[in-house]
Structures are given as structure tokens and as C-alpha cells.
């Protein structure tokens, strides 16, 4: 299975690239200005005035972004009416029970491991990474998803687990309802 850029990830990447560009430009401008001779009192006055606004901007952005993010947490809650798929990781295999569901099913992946920590990374049939959850011995992490598209979903290990970590993969089938 080959990987493809997922929509949310592209959006994240573009935001980061723009911010990096803004910072790079700012540092370039400051470096150019570094050669000039400006009284430190003037730098103080303007710099501290600007710093208060910079802090306010970062606080506002933080409150908004963190606040919104709390409404989109991937953590499972409730669980009534969900089809449970038991996922067990081990060196170096995945076991899924059942190994297929029909499209549109509200699935709860109950993820654990029999030996060391693994990571259950799920890709949709187009090779877009949906997300990942850890598989830890002695604990069950529950991931709720609704897989609306039929096809073969791929699983890769997302936590370093030893020699064959990079080839520890499996698949999960979603049939047409």
C-alpha cells in the first residue's frame, strides 16, 4: 500500500509552512536591521509596546486553538451500539477480531498488546493516515471510528517494538453495507 497526503495533515503542514516562512522573514529583517544604529531606549519603548501585543496575540490564539481542540478529542466515551473490534499487537503481528465490518459501522477498536508497546496506525483505502492509538500490555485503549468507505484499510505499527517494527503490518476489510 502506498501512502498519500491526507486532507487534515495537508492543512496542518500548510499552516506550519506559513508560520515558518513568517518567522524566517522576521529573522531576516532583524538581521538586516542589526547593522543599523538605533538608540536602545527607542528599541525598548517600541519593543516592549510590541511585546505586550505579541503576548496578547499568542494568548488569544492559544485559547481559541486549545479550546476548539477540546471538542475534537479522539478519546472514546460511552460506547453503546458500537461494534467492538478486538485488536491485539505482538512481536511482530496484528490480530483483529472480527477482521471485517460493513461500511458505515460505528466501530470501537479495543487495542492492547501481548508483549511490548506497539502503535495501531490506521490508513484508509486511499493510503491516508486516519490516526493512531497505542497498544500497551495490560491496558486497553479504545478508539471509536465510523468507517464509511468500503475497501481495505491498512495497519502499520506506530511504536518502536523491535527488529521487525517497520514490517509489522496488517489489513482490515470494510465491505459495502
Amino acid at each position: 500500500m502506498s501512502l498519500h497526503y491526507g486532507g487534515p495533515q495537508i492543512a496542518i503542514g500548510v499552516v506550519f509552512a506559513l508560520l515558518a516562512l513568517v518567522f524566517a522573514t522576521a529573522f531576516l529583517v532583524i538581521a538586516v536591521q542589526a547593522g543599523s544604529d538605533v538608540g536602545f531606549e527607542r528599541v525598548h519603548d517600541v519593543g516592549y509596546w510590541l511585546r505586550r501585543r505579541w503576548l496578547a496575540l499568542l494568548v488569544v490564539v492559544g485559547v481559541v486553538v486549545v479550546g476548539i481542540s477540546l471538542f475534537d478529542l479522539p478519546y472514546a466515551s460511552g460506547g453503546a451500539g458500537r461494534t467492538v473490534v478486538k485488536v491485539t499487537g505482538g512481536q511482530f503481528f496484528w490480530s483483529l477480531q472480527p477482521a471485517q465490518v460493513s461500511a458505515g459501522t460505528r466501530v470501537r477498536f479495543d487495542v492492547t498488546s501481548v508483549d511490548v508497546n506497539h502503535g495501531f496506525g490506521l490508513y484508509d483505502p486511499h493510503g491516508h493516515l486516519i490516526g493512531s492509538v497505542q497498544a500497551m500490555p495490560g491496558y486497553h485503549n479504545k478508539l471509536d471510528l465510523t468507517l464509511s468507505e468500503a475497501g481495505v484499510y491498512w495497519i502499520r505499527c506506530f511504536e518502536y517494538c523491535g527488529l521487525n517494527h517497520s514490517t509489522m503490518e496488517s489489513s482490515f476489510k470494510v465491505t459495502r453495507g
Partner: protein
């Protein structure tokens, strides 16, 4: 012919002389020793990094077994190398105003270097490859790749490196708090509350925060490291993997994070010397570092976002902390440094250029980290190479670049010159293009969803690794170009160790010429160490001593037969009972040694104290395994002695802690008890 002598040429800003002290030879030597050792280690580990990237690009063929050995060594070696060098950089600037002890610094060096050698042998000879984060219980599932001795040696190495940093942090904390009026004084809080008119220097505030948080992180790391070491000789030892994971990341994340803060503490002193403006410690600065003191240790939990069993509140606290921890960096450190540079007629030398470059690496790498710390984004980026991208951005383009800047600063000051403009331009271009190119390919692969730590890349992604490798080679060339300039500056500094070429002006003709004049060998006197005082002990005054005695009486309960018997119901309760015995011993030791008459007799034995607070709790945890105590359980006398020994380990710890001053002693005693409690929480078997 009369002549007018101008000052000896300096690489620093002309205005810097007003606030720049001459470096003492001990500072230069310690700084160079640590920075050079660290840089050599970093260079070697960089070669391993390049080998791994070329393997992922299918250019060279390294087996997965060797790939993961190299991965483990690369991670641990880089952290250790950067740590050694960064400790030296901060010590160099801190020693100006704080009487740090050279002996403790050399002990720290020895421990760290021996630890690094252990890790080298464990990975390259033993084949240990569980990653530098050694997430339990992976070390004990080697898939036929490494023997038990390599596990033991790796953990011994990790504990020695941790011990080296522990010694460093204790000495820094003890001396800053002694010199600047206790913990609140050294953190600048007394200035913040307007009880003092003058704040401590910026580097002192930074160093106090780093030492405090470093001790917390090392305690967690040593606890899990000792547990894992115990497991190598007793397979009956078991772990609660969620608690263990918390301990591993609390240690690992915090140490990696502190690397930047360690060097930043030095940059507060170095960068102003090229801007000709002293760094101003304001109330905002003090408050920013106060916030950092807390946030540095609370952000680690974002490594467990995808462990859904971690309590929800911890996930949310971690997300808020992770974002908030960026604020002091963005608003105080990086911002105020750019204010210093703006319009300053900044003196561009090799050191100052790298110092400035490092600020940009921190801003951009930090942005990538903040994005990853938002939980819904992390769901899509967790353990993809995005993570590799952001931490390499600020480790390569901030920490490594700043460490090179530190060495350049030392050599430029001694040589009285910098390298050529052409060489500097090429170096910066190579570092910028190579560094951001390499991390850029990882960022793009992260967006694509490529998982990290893959010896064999997913189909169709080897091309990214190839492009990344090419950029990596460019970055390596930039580092080598920088090292070549450092060697040249070093030779100039060595040649001029007795003489300097001073610029002179012929008073008749007005022409300038260089003349060899004897170097001014005057050294400003070292900051005097305050004489040891018997009352500089953790429990000060009768009230605190009575309080300690009362705590001993309460802790005696851990020996009540009913409590001992009830604690046998589970390993965790049993260990908790041992922690009670240990606590009794610690408080008894502190109380007895804090009595003025006893303290006077014990004297200033800080080296013994340091050894005691590290070795006694470690020994206790190493014997708390079934193979030692199970045979004793059927012999009541020996069993009672075993329990008594737990209190004995505590007593030694308490007595030892009492020799580390008020703040150092209290904190090390508190942390030793914390360690045995964490040990009880993390162990299920044993």
C-alpha cells in the same frame, strides 16, 4: 619614536567591554573540555544519523538489527554529547557570579563520560537496540538481538550519565541558592515581590530553574532505570507499564527539553557581548522563568496522548502546558534577544552569527512542536516523522549551532579575531539549507503519514529519504566548515597564548601597525565561596527539628506488625511499606544531622553527601527484588533485618542530604523519598 597603543583587537562589540568580564583560565578550560568532548560525541552520532538516513534511502545496506543499534546509540549519544557540552557552556558563564566547585564539575564529567562508554559498548558490542527511550518492557523482548549483559550495561550507562547530571544540578542549585539568598532569591522571586532591588543575573535564574527541574527529571529517570536494571538480574520484577511510560517520558522529554534551556542560559550572557547591550532582567523575565519552572515538568505527558487510558485531565493539562510553555520562549527569551540585536550595530562573527541562527531554529522548531502538542493534530501526527522533524530542527539548528557558537566565542576571545567573512557565509548557507532541508523532508513525510523509527521505509517513500540525505550531507559540510574555522581560531589562540598582536598607531606618521605585546595575565579573583556554616542544614531551628522528630514517630507506624502484615497483600503495598521505613530513616538522618552539635562534628562533607544521596536510595531499589527478599521471608529475624535495612538506607540518605545545604539537602531528601514511592507505583512484581 613615541607611539599610541590602542586596545588589543577584540571579536566582541566595542560597547561590550562595559559589562563583560575577562574569562578566568579555569572557566575557559572547563568550558573547552566539556564543549569539545560533547562536540566530538555529537559529530560521531551525526555520522550515525547520516548512515541511517542513507539506509532508509536504499543507498547503503544496513540490516535492521544494526539500524536499531545505531538508532539507540544515536539517540542516547546525542543527548549525552549535547548534555556534556551544554553543562560546560552554562558553567562557563555561571562561574562568573557563582562559586561553583571544580571538583564536582570534574566528577560530573567522569560519570558522564564513563556512562557514554558503557552505552557505546552495550550497543555496538552487545547489540542493545531498544531505543534510547527504552520503553519498558522492550529491553526484555530482544527478539534474539541482544544478550542480558548488554541490557544491564546500557542501564548502568544511562544511570551514570544521569548521575553526572545529578551532581551538576546539586552543585548549581546549592551554590546559586547560597549566593543569592535561598531558592526564592536565586529564582528572582524576591525581586519580583520587591523585597530586593536588584535581580540575580539572567544566567543564575535560568540555571536555578534548570537544576531544580533537572533533579526532578533525573529522579524519575533513575527510578525507572534502577527498576529496569533490577529486572536484568531478576525476571520476577514486573512493571506497571502506564506508570513506567510516564516515568520514561518525564525523564526523557524533560532532559531533551532542558538541553535547550541549558544553552539558552549561556546565550543570555554571550549574545549581548556582540550586541553591545547588556541583557536586562525584568519582572517579565523572572515571571517567564517562574512559569517555565512548572511547565518544563508538566508538558512531558503529551507523549502519552495516544495512550487513551491516561487520565483525561492529564491529557488536557498537558495540552495547555505544552502551548503555554512556548510563551516564555516566544515572548521572553527569543523576543528579547532579537530586541538586543535590533539596530545594535551587531558585530557579526562566527560565534555571533551562530548565536543568532540558533534563535531562528528555536522559533521554527518550537512551532512544529506546538502544533504537534494539540491533541487532534497529534492524533494524525503522533509517532510519524513529524516528531523527528521538529526535535531535529531545534536540536540541530539551535542546540548544536549554539554549542558551536560557544566554542567559537571562547576561541575568538583568545584569538582576538574571527574567521573570514567568506567562510562564515558558506558555513551559514550550508547549515541553513542543509538543516532546514533535512528537517523539511521529515516534515513533509510527517504530513504523508510515514511512521518514525522504520529501518525499511514504506513503499514509495525512499525518495524523501534520499533528498533528506543530500540535505543532511550539506548540513554535515556546514558543521565541518565550522569545525575547520574553530581549529584555525584555536591555533591562533594557542599561538597567542603568551602574546597578543595589539594595534598601534605611529604618532609621527599616523600609520597603523601590529605589535606583539605581552598578554595581560591578570585574572580577576574568583567569586569567594561562602565559608561553610554548621547551621546551613535542611532543618533550621528547633521548630523544624521537633517537626522532624514528630515525623519520625509517625513513620514508625510502618514497622507495626499489623501494617507490615497487611502490606504483604500485594507487591505494591509491600514496596510502599518499604518506602515508609525509608522515609523514617531519611527524616531521622536529617533531624539528627541538623542538630547544631552533630552538624558541627560532621562538618562540610558535600562530596560524601552527594555520593550518599545517590548511592543509598539506588542500593535500596536494587535489593528490592524477589531473589533477595523471598528467601528471607521464612526466616523472621533475617526478614526483620531486611526491613530494618530499608530504614538504614534512609538514614544514610538523610545524613548525606544534610551535607548539601538547605535547599540542596531538602530537595535531595524529598526526591529520594519520591523515588522510592515512584518505584512502588511502577513495580508490579518484585
Amino acid at each position: 619614536m613615541a607611539s599610541v597603543t590602542a586596545p588589543a583587537p577584540s571579536a566582541l562589540h566595542p560597547r561590550a567591554a562595559a559589562f563583560t568580564e575577562g574569562a578566568r583560565s579555569v572557566e575557559r578550560r572547563i568550558g573547552l573540555l566539556f564543549a569539545a568532548t560533547g562536540t566530538v560525541l555529537i559529530l560521531l552520532m551525526g555520522v550515525l544519523g547520516l548512515i541511517m538516513r542513507l539506509t532508509q534511502a536504499n543507498v547503503i545496506d544496513v540490516s535492521p538489527a544494526w539500524f536499531y543499534r545505531l538508532l539507540t546509540l544515536h539517540g542516547m549519544g546525542m543527548i549525552t554529547g549535547a548534555l556534556i557540552a551544554a553543562m560546560g557552556a552554562l558553567w562557563y558563564v555561571l562561574h562568573e557570579s557563582v562559586p561553583l566547585r571544580v571538583g564536582h564539575m570534574l566528577a560530573s564529567y567522569a560519570l558522564t563520560v564513563v556512562g557514554a562508554v558503557c552505552v557505546l559498548v552495550a550497543t555496538l558490542v552487545g547489540g542493545f537496540g531498544a531505543g534510547w527511550t527504552f520503553l519498558p518492557p522492550l529491553s526484555f523482548y530482544p527478539a534474539g538481538q541482544w544478550p542480558v549483559w548488554s541490557e544491564s550495561l546500557f542501564f548502568v550507562g544511562m544511570l551514570l550519565v544521569g548521575g553526572g547530571f545529578f551532581v551538576y544540578c546539586i552543585d548549581v542549585l546549592r551554590q546559586t541558592t547560597n549566593t543569592f539568598g535561598g531558592l526564592t532569591g536565586a529564582l528572582g522571586w524576591r525581586f519580583l515581590a520587591e523585597h530586593e532591588a536588584q535581580p540575580p543575573p539572567a544566567s543564575v535564574i535560568a540555571a536555578t530553574v534548570i537544576a531544580f527541574d533537572g533533579l526532578l527529571a533525573m529522579s524519575a529517570g533513575m527510578t525507572i532505570g534502577l527498576g529496569l536494571l533490577g529486572r536484568t538480574y531478576d525476571s520476577g520484577v514486573g512493571f506497571d507499564l502506564l506508570v513506567s511510560k510516564n516515568l520514561v517520558y518525564f525523564f526523557g522529554h524533560t532532559i531533551a527539553n532542558l538541553l535547550i534551556y541549558l544553552v539558552a542560559g549561556a546565550v543570555y550572557v554571550l549574545l549581548p557581548r556582540y550586541a553591545g547591550r547588556p541583557y536586562e532582567v525584568t519582572k517579565v523575565f523572572v515571571a517567564g522563568w517562574g512559569v517555565a519552572l512548572v511547565l518544563i515538568v508538566t508538558v512531558y505527558s503529551h507523549h502519552l496522548y495516544m495512550d487513551f487510558v491516561q487520565p483525561r485531565w492529564a491529557q488536557i493539562v498537558s495540552e495547555i502546558s505544552s502551548y503555554a510553555s512556548a510563551l516564555p520562549v516566544a515572548v521572553v527569551t527569543v523576543y528579547s534577544m532579537t530586541m538586543l540585536v535590533w539596530g545594535s550595530r551587531y558585530r557579526w562573527t562566527l560565534a555571533s552569527t551562530l548565536l543568532y541562527l540558533g534563535l531562528m531554529g528555536w522559533a521554527i522548531g518550537g512551532t512544529g512542536a506546538v502544533i504537534d502538542s494539540i491533541i487532534p493534530f497529534n492524533f494524525r501526527l503522533h509517532n510519524t516523522v513529524w516528531v523527528v522533524a521538529h526535535f531535529h530542527t531545534y536540536l540541530m539548528l539551535t542546540v548544536v549551532v549554539w554549542l558551536l557558537a560557544f566554542i567559537a566565542h571562547l576561541l575568538e576571545r583568545d584569538a582576538g579575531r574571527t574567521s573570514s567573512r567568506l567562510a562564515r557565509t558558506w558555513t551559514v548557507m550550508l547549515l541553513l539549507v542543509g538543516g532546514f532541508g533535512l528537517t523539511g523532508t521529515w516534515f513533509v513525510e510527517g504530513v504523508l503519514g510515514v511512521p518514525r523509527r522504520y529501518a525499511i521505509q514504506p513503499p514509495g517513500t525512499a525518495g524523501y529519504s534520499l533528498v533528506g540525505s543530500i540535505f543532511g550531507i550539506l548540513f554535515a559540510l556546514g558543521v565541518l566548515a565550522c569545525v575547520a574555522q574553530l581549529v584555525s581560531l584555536g591555533r591562533a589562540a594557542w599561538a597567542g597564548r603568551h602574546y597578543v598582536v595589539a594595534e598601534r598607531v605611529d604618532s609621527w606618521t599616523g600609520t597603523h601597525y601590529g605589535a606583539r605585546v605581552e598578554r595581560d595575565t591578570f585574572e580577576r579573583p574568583a567569586v569567594e565561596t561562602a565559608p561553610w556554616r554548621p547551621w546551613d542544614v535542611p532543618l533550621a531551628g528547633p521548630v523544624q527539628i521537633w517537626f522532624g522528630a514528630a515525623a519520625c514517630v509517625v513513620a514508625l507506624a510502618s514497622f507495626f506488625p499489623q501494617i507490615v502484615s497487611a502490606s504483604e497483600s500485594s507487591v505494591r503495598y509491600h514496596h510502599l511499606d518499604h518506602a515508609g521505613h525509608f522515609f523514617l530513616g531519611v527524616v531521622a538522618g536529617l533531624t539528627i544531622a541538623s542538630l547544631p552539635a552533630v552538624s558541627r562534628r560532621l562538618g562540610d562533607r558535600s562530596s560524601l553527601g552527594l555520593a550518599g544521596v545517590m548511592l543509598a536510595p539506588s542500593a535500596m531499589m536494587l535489593v528490592m527484588v524477589p531473589r533477595f527478599y523471598e528467601p528471607l521471608e521464612h526466616h523472621s529475624f533475617e526478614h526483620a533485618l531486611y526491613h530494618l535495612a530499608m530504614a538504614g538506607f534512609g538514614l544514610v540518605t538523610g545524613l548525606a542530604a544534610s551535607r548539601l545545604g538547605r535547599v540542596g539537602g531538602r530537595l535531595s531528601a524529598f526526591l529520594s523519598v519520591g523515588m522510592v514511592l515512584l518505584f512502588a507505583a511502577a513495580m508490579k512484581g518484585g
